[in-house]
Symmetry: C2
Subunit: 300 residues, 2 copies
């Protein structure tokens, strides 16, 4: 069993009520693979520019993340994002986006990645996501993220992608937009009819919902009083889910639910520091201890 992620590696500059950081290592593939690395050895596909320092490559190496698929584009600059979180930590403004090498990124899988069993297509155009998927020989579980932009502008391509997915990951606003409803429960049920076997709707601090053949499953967010930087929470959640699924050999009923609980716990750690700062200070033992606490907080 092997887990592949295709997404972004970025330099993030973040302003939050807790402080400011510049040019920290971020991006969907970064958070996803880092979160997943507590459970499995993920394979990463992304592109960076010549400005990407060795110290950042070492961050992946330290977690045994396979970077055979991390391309460095000659003469290019790494994707940059700058954002500011509001006081409620729930909403943010994007202040700057410099796509740089991302603008022309056409992901090519190394031969050694083609046998990946678990695939996560982080947010990018559905056309690119389909092209990636075509390069995987026989995936057993494919999950994809998307965003309002593609739902609005690339609907035909998205409609082609959705039936090829096992799981679709959306936030609450995206789920309503995709299914043209104002109720999140209806949205989850309708989204499944567009093709994916299961749909996960993320509600930020309020947790997540799963819609599958198994009915509805709900998880509240892990309650943390230390929200420093919400960047990467959604991708860490996905990384925890897919990472845990990749190494979980127990029978299916409940497997996805358990994986979502692990994703929730890892995401709750992510937001307790800027960038990867908090995740760098955790380990599987702390994650398991927090999971135990989480279970106790949900028991009745």
């Amino acid at each position: 069993m092997s887990l592949l992620v295709v997404g972004t590696v970025a330099f993030d500059s973040i302003e939050s009520p807790s402080g400011t950081v510049d040019d920290v290592l971020g991006g969907s593939a970064t958070y996803f693979s880092y979160a997943a690395s507590f459970f499995t050895k993920p394979r990463l596909v992304a592109v960076v520019g010549e400005d990407f320092p060795d110290a950042n490559r070492q961050v992946f190496a330290d977690r045994q993340i396979d970077t055979a698929g991390l391309t460095t584009e000659k003469g290019g600059s790494t994707f940059r994002w700058k954002g500011r979180y509001h006081q409620d930590m729930d909403t943010r403004d994007t202040l700057e986006v410099h796509l740089n090498v991302l603008a022309t990124f056409d992901p090519k899988l190394p031969a050694s990645y083609r046998d990946s069993t678990h695939v996560f297509l982080a947010n990018s155009s559905p056309q690119v996501q389909i092209k990636v998927l075509q390069q995987v020989t026989r995936p057993t579980l494919v999950m994809a993220d998307t965003m309002d932009l593609w739902i609005s502008t690339e609907r035909d391509a998205l409609n082609k992608l959705l039936p090829r997915l096992d799981g679709l990951l959306l936030n609450d606003g995206e789920s309503l937009l995709l299914t043209d409803t104002d109720n999140i429960i209806r949205a989850g049920e309708r989204a499944r009819k567009l093709g994916p076997k299961f749909v996960i709707i993320k509600k930020g601090e309020h947790g997540a919902l799963l819609f599958s053949d198994d009915g509805v499953f709900m998880l509240p967010g892990y309650p943390t009083s230390q929200v420093i930087d919400p960047t990467g929470a959604g991708d860490s959640f996905a990384g925890g889910i897919m990472g845990h699924l990749t190494q979980d050999t127990s029978p299916p009923p409940g497997r996805l639910r358990r994986a979502m609980a692990y994703g929730t716990v890892v995401a709750s750690l992510t937001v307790e520091g800027f960038g990867l700062e908090r995740l760098k200070r955790t380990d599987r033992a702390e994650i398991d201890a927090r999971m135990q606490k989480y279970r106790e907080m949900l028991a009745f």
Copy 2:
């Protein structure tokens, strides 16, 4: 064991994306006692005007709600509220408030109510809530609701009330206001330091949090795709909690948690119709069946 509620009985006029109703039976004590009546026989204290029809009294009688404490003020008119829900069903505008008989309401407990063991002080000025409490001989569990108005304008009286409470019920915005923080987890912990043994923070469709000696407990909302009218959801939640607690003789650990789950289930039924319409069509068997479904939706 006997449950007392002191609050409002009202005529509500409601506009929601699902339709419009005029002058339906509402008010905090109405929703609370109706929800609690599926578990126990609540005692109601409230005031109405001469315009209050027998048909509405029959609504209480049909659920064996004790209305010895329902005063009819001669020449007075019943409290009226008119509101409009936005498309998201989460926010509402108050269009009209006519306090009428509520303006001078000074609740007096009938002698037969003074031995109540469980007391719910629905939202009203903390001075009135304290006066009510003084009329109960020896309550074993007192829970109170409040609102932003009293937190802002009656802080001294509120500070006197809080140490007399077992439980304090707040919504998320109120909890942040009361404790001057922007994080709901910190708010719950700080609110306990003001006196109540436990604090319940309501998050609407996103569920509720409990802060007690037992740590943090979380419940997501029951997922319903049929949100018709959110009016009374919070008071039904409280009624389900207190109703269940009043008749639950199992040992304490977990008793409050279970009661909160029942409150969540009853509240989810409330919002599926205008006013009491949906609650009138339910029974304990349906509530228990939904509870079983709820447990299954939370298991992992």
